[in-house]
């Protein structure tokens, strides 16, 4: 499963199909996930606040291909923050689309008071809970983790989702997570940091 998909499932309230994060924060987390996928595919690097495209060969995944297309075809050199905000706008629909095509979530319309809302309940509750279980297990047991998993964990911290996921974790597990994030390779580390700062600014301006 791709990184943004896992983040989507981590943030998903299984029963309602809604997100546990507010819309803008979820968008920023998913946008970070989409860019992290490209970093992990070795298509781009992040240097301070700039994204550098290193390999223009389209990746196998269509959504990644699309995101890389944005980066390659845009003439203006936008900074990481701008790309995050841009990708965040439709990240929920796009990542949910990828999960739907993989048969992991369904799309439903629910009426809530005076408006309808699109929710994405998982098709298989157990499968949807797996990323969460794996992450919590690894942190609690302090198991070795791969960079994608650490990046994922970093995004949960950046978006504040960790307070939901890790409320049972002990201090040592949190310290372990801190340690792992500190040692992330610089590109994904920078991405996680930018997501965190963008979320913070969204809170400060009250636009979450």
């Amino acid at each position: 499963m791709r990184l943004a998909d896992e983040f989507f499932l981590l943030a998903l309230d299984d029963r309602s199909g809604r997100s546990m994060l507010s819309p803008r924060v979820l968008g920023l987390g998913l946008a970070g996930g989409l860019l992290a996928e490209l970093v992990l595919d070795r298509k781009i690097t992040v240097h301070e606040d700039q994204i550098i495209v290193g390999d223009r060969q389209p990746p196998a995944d269509p959504l990644s291909q699309r995101v890389l297309g944005y980066l390659v075809n845009e003439l203006t050199a936008y900074d990481v923050r701008t790309w995050l905000v841009y990708l965040a706008q439709e990240a929920r629909e796009q990542v949910a689309g990828r999960l739907r095509r993989a048969g992991r979530v369904r799309q439903e319309q629910v009426r809530r008071l005076w408006r309808t809302e699109v929710v994405y309940p998982p098709t298989d509750l157990n499968a949807a809970a797996l990323p969460r279980a794996r992450l919590v297990h690894a942190l609690n047991r302090r198991l070795p983790m791969q960079w994608p998993e650490v990046t994922l964990a970093g995004l949960t911290v950046a978006t504040g989702l960790d307070s939901h996921l890790l409320y049972t974790a002990d201090d040592a597990a949190k310290e372990y997570l801190r340690h792992l994030i500190t040692h992330l390779p610089s590109s994904v580390h920078a991405l996680v940091w930018h997501v965190h700062a963008a979320v913070g600014d969204a809170v400060i301006t009250g636009r979450t």
């Binding site: 307070s163 390779p185 301006t205 979450t208």
Partner: protein, 532 residues
């Protein structure tokens, strides 16, 4: 963004990013409404203006609003210019940290927390008076003020945790209705002058030289509090260079004219000689009583209804301002990091919100138990003391703007970086000096009352403690010190995430899979340690 489904390579049109982002950005009206949501005109007109007439006994209030409006517009020139060059541009202490110095910035941040809390908590003192007539009318109920205040507190606390800024459209409608009601009431007052002739006594410039004028100038500033928030959106507006200044000047202009008109009209309807006495007797009911006699009881009831919503909006606005201030400081680690955490579901600064609510309930209960007067001793004193704090912050920010551009012009022209800031600073220093000199008049207490110097001294102590804390951080935690004033972008931002390391990123390339073994080893080593 293109609306085609996410399949295949989607060529982005050049400029499509800026187009897509612009769609989500704020225009002038949105920022104006946001700014005025904290200014809440009817709260000021019904509450502050009437009590100002009653307590200071001075007449030149309309002129004070116009004068302060002009001064703040002048201040706004440099303020907006600097906002384009700094992070966390919505908060005075960010300007002060980055303009004057970080320790002073911490002092300013603490002063701001105190001042905005005073403004917020003060509002609980007036909500009882605003709601009582409606409760009487609809339910035949007569409740003590603190019961109503606690209900309001509960609403504010819950909405604050949900990060509910009242929906922009609802707010816009309410604000327009408030301004319309103020205009209608004022015109009716002007059409029904006391003694049959419209008096221009409150517009006489000689009133500005009356003893105690500093009190009126400070009240003038209180009416504008909230204008500073316009710059919080410098990165979220369609055309930051135009949207933010236009929105700010528009808000300042509307506020100045509406308050000047309303306070003049009130003096005309009651008569300049009587206004202090009548305002003292009728307090916040004054303008509604005037409306009832000029226009009929229905108008007065509509006015009360809007007064109530106006107060709630102001409470929520100031609650959110303090909570977000605390959040930004938590992110910088100037306050404990826990303040920098958000509630996942709502994205609210939950700890800051809870602490503000705790302060609110403590004050309401304290006043209720002590039996202090909610209107004068809570609302008016809280408001004016908060206003003095904000005035101090504005003045310090004016110094910061000047110093910031003195060191580096950053492409701003002479007017924006020097002339306007110097003139604004001189004006602000005069206003601040007068406000301090006449603070007893402002509170309506004798010159030897403990609060007369207690409030200014309180601010000074808080500021000095903040400065001391800032200097301590410089020595003990240089990383935290470096991030002061940067808000969410502070170097130490966050609980576990430090700033990106610079240097090797581009050179090392993206080789996470290869590097992953490194962390395996470290993790393994750590696991060993844990077992031992």
């Amino acid at each position: 963004m293109s609306s085609s489904p996410a399949t295949g390579a989607a060529p982005a049109r050049p400029g499509s990013v800026s187009t897509a982002l612009a769609a989500d950005r704020l225009g002038v009206p949105a920022v104006v409404f946001f700014v005025m949501s904290a200014a809440t005109p009817l709260t000021v007109v019904a509450g502050v203006i009437t009590l100002a007439f009653a307590i200071t006994g001075l007449l030149a209030l309309p002129l004070a609003f116009l004068l302060i409006g002009a001064l703040l517009a002048l201040f706004g020139v440099g303020y907006v210019a600097m906002s384009r060059h700094i992070a966390n541009a919505g908060a005075f202490y960010a300007y002060i940290s980055q303009g004057i110095g970080r320790p002073v910035g911490v002092g300013a941040a603490w002063v701001a927390l105190l001042a905005y809390n005073l403004l917020q908590v003060g509002l609980y003192g007036v909500i009882g008076a605003a709601a009582a007539p409606l409760l009487e009318l609809w339910l035949g109920l007569s409740l003590p003020w603190w019961v109503i205040a606690l209900v309001a507190w509960l609403i504010v606390g819950i909405l604050g945790l949900q990060q509910v800024d009242i929906n922009g459209r609802v707010l816009a409608v309410l604000l327009c209705a408030e301004v319309a009601v103020i205009l209608v009431f004022s015109l009716a007052s002007l059409a029904n002058p006391a003694d049959g002739a419209v008096s221009f006594a409150t517009l006489d410039p000689s009133g500005l030289f009356a003893a105690g004028i500093g009190a009126l100038l400070a009240l003038g500033v209180l009416g504008f509090v909230g204008f500073e928030a316009a710059t919080v959106f410098s990165e979220e507006t369609k055309h930051p260079r135009r949207t933010v200044p236009i929105a700010m000047y528009t808000a300042i202009g509307i506020i100045a004219l509406v308050y000047a008109l309303a306070s003049w009209a009130m003096s005309v309807a009651v008569g300049p000689d009587e206004i202090a006495t009548v305002a003292g007797e009728e307090e916040v009911d004054l303008i509604f009583n005037l409306a009832a006699s000029h226009l009929g009881g229905v108008f007065a009831d509509i006015g009360y209804g809007l007064f109530l919503t106006s107060l709630l909006a102001a409470m929520i606005a100031f609650h959110n301002i303090t909570a977000r201030y605390a959040f930004a400081l938590g992110r910088e680690r100037v306050l404990p990091a826990v303040f920098g955490r958000t509630s996942a579901r709502s994205g609210s600064p939950k700890v800051g919100s809870l602490v503000q609510s705790a302060i609110g309930v403590a004050v309401i209960l304290g006043y209720a138990i002590a039996g202090w007067d909610p209107l004068v001793q809570l609302f008016f004193w809280g408001g004016t003391s908060g206003g003095l704090g904000v005035l101090t912050l504005i003045t310090l920010t004016a110094v910061a703007v000047l110093w910031f551009f003195f060191r580096d012009a950053r492409g701003e022209n002479l007017w924006r970086r020097a002339v306007a800031p110097v003139l604004a600073l001189l004006g602000l220093l005069v206003v601040l000096g007068l406000a301090l000199a006449h603070f007893d008049v402002l509170l309506g207490v004798p010159a030897d009352h403990p609060l007369r110097w207690g409030v200014p001294t309180g601010y000074l102590v808080v500021a000095l403690l903040g400065i001391g804390w800032g200097m301590l951080l410089r020595r003990t935690r240089p990383q935290v010190y470096a991030g002061i004033g940067l808000g969410a972008r502070a170097v130490t931002s966050g609980v576990t995430i430090s700033a990106p390391r610079t240097g090797s990123a581009a050179a090392s390339g993206a080789a996470p899979a290869g590097e992953a073994t490194g962390v395996r080893d470290e993790a393994e080593a750590e696991r060993q340690e844990v077992r031992q």
